[in-house]
């Protein structure tokens, strides 16, 4: 369980906080989506939830704090966070380690650093590559991958660590629909083992079928928090700068023209 209690945060060199009074709990095995307009604070929330802000990048909490499994984390070293909360950055190329010569080594790096035995490291690495359908990239050089392939490798390396909590900032931004589907399936599988997941995404179509709960951020505050279906169907969503899922958009376009959206039921 990961809890943000009344958290405010400001970046180094800035007087104004970019997050205010964030109260958010991720239960074990829960999949929580975060949506909001650009600059609403989604990426910052991800950095705070995994302890990198302020722990590694500086700045300061202006209120509240982070708890993991009920333990306050204030003052804990960043390497301790790393074993308890995984983080996938928005830009996968900034996450590839740069110290490995093959995708297999890249994905194995995390489990090795957790101190796992070689046999388990290899088993987890193979599993993570297979889960995302990228076994054929195993011998490729990480730096020579396409944007989407790089993103899948980053997610595979996170899966291989099997973190109890995982924060993902737009994990499918560069993926094709098949990659997006495989990542969705993998995240569901991970949640079923008890991992709590926080996923910031603009793709509401992905969150629609994946998340239990969705949180809406606006100007650094949580303005809505509820079951995914209710939040993604909320008529205020567009006003918060979030494109509703295509299912919801089509239904409202039909209603606006006097047609019964029921024609969409059971279709695609």
């Amino acid at each position: 369980m990961l809890t943000l209690k009344g958290v405010g945060y400001r970046y180094a060199g800035y007087a104004a906080p970019v997050l205010h009074d964030i109260d958010l709990t991720l239960g074990d095995g829960e999949l929580v989506g975060v949506v909001g307009a650009n600059e609403a604070g989604k990426s910052t929330l991800c950095l705070v939830a995994c302890g990198l802000a302020p722990g590694s990048i500086g700045g300061a909490l202006t209120g509240g704090g982070l708890e993991i499994d009920g333990e306050p984390m204030a003052g804990r070293p960043v390497h301790e966070f790393a074993t308890r909360v995984g983080i996938g950055f928005q830009n996968p190329s900034t996450q590839l380690s740069g110290v490995t010569g093959s995708v297999f080594e890249e994905v194995a790096l995390g489990p090795m650093n957790l101190g796992l035995m070689p046999a388990e490291t290899v088993e987890r690495t193979k599993w993570a590559l297979a889960t995302l359908g990228i076994e054929d990239l195993a011998e490729r050089e990480p730096r020579r991958l396409s944007g989407g392939q790089g993103q899948l490798v980053v997610i595979a390396s996170l899966l291989a660590m099997r973190p109890p909590h995982l924060v993902l900032d737009e994990p499918t931004a560069q993926l094709d629909p098949e990659g997006t589907r495989l990542v969705g399936d993998a995240l569901r599988e991970l949640a079923a083992t008890g991992t709590a997941l926080l996923i910031a995404e603009h793709k509401t179509d992905l969150l629609d079928g994946l998340c239990d709960r969705v949180v809406v951020l606006e100007a650094g505050r949580i303005v809505a928090d509820g079951p995914a279906a209710a939040i993604l169907g909320d008529p205020r969503l567009a006003g918060w700068g979030v494109a509703p899922p295509s299912r919801v958009r089509l239904a409202s376009a039909l209603s606006a023209r006097g047609l019964d959206p029921a024609v969409l039921e059971g279709v695609a």
Binding site: E39, T94, R144, A173, G179, L254, L259, V263, L264, V267
Partner: protein
Amino acid sequence: MTDLAVVGVGFVYPDGTRALDSVHLHVRTGERVAIIGQNGSGKSTLVRQLNGLLRPTEGSVLHDGVNIVDRRVASLAASVGIVFQNPDRQIFSGRVRAEVGFGPRILGRSGPEVDRAVRSALESVGLQDAIDLNPYDLGYSRRKLLTLASILAMDTPVLVLDEPTTGQDARGVERVQSIVHEVSGRGRTVVAISHDMRFVAETFERVVVMGGGRVLLDGGPAEVFAEAAWPTLASTYVEPPRAARVGARLGRGSTPTEASLVDSLTSPG
């Protein structure tokens, strides 16, 4: 104006990976063309051939009918501006103003012309208030818009966008859409790579589908997203936009956009 022709182009990376295989593509001046297809299908490799960043290992690339094999990247950059997928591989200045001004300055524009180009490009992407900031004080989505502004400021005859909508919210996507229309309205060519099928269907008049380094389909959105093409799309992991899937299920023919679907459902018959 620049008419682009990719003729029988193949490309193999130094590590032996074949990324392009006998690609033929002719893009006429002023066209809006989307390139879609699965990850690793050769989309980014293809657009890098257009301005000489990568050179074909087979075949040739022509600008206005002339092979570009002997032209340098610096000179081709004046014709084809590419906005990369990853903004952080593009940004290098400490100030937004300098970042956006670099391109027009390199093209030899005068000081006042550079200033005008910078302001107008920043206005198009909505970053006029960020002109004196450090690019790295902007969030990812605004850094992406900044790299778009840098290329817009060069006003190249051809604009190439690699995944322009990733990281953009609803308003950001609309902004990119209107920029594509504005640029093409001025007779410029726009080529964009995207996985966002709604954006593709609503914004482009022509869609090129790639798979395994080859062109699998090439046509208007209604043709490419029509039910008959779905097996080909599936082979390169492209899912038609939801409006197209709904239209086909309801027997309304090819309705690639939400607007076309709603129109077909509200029209008699």
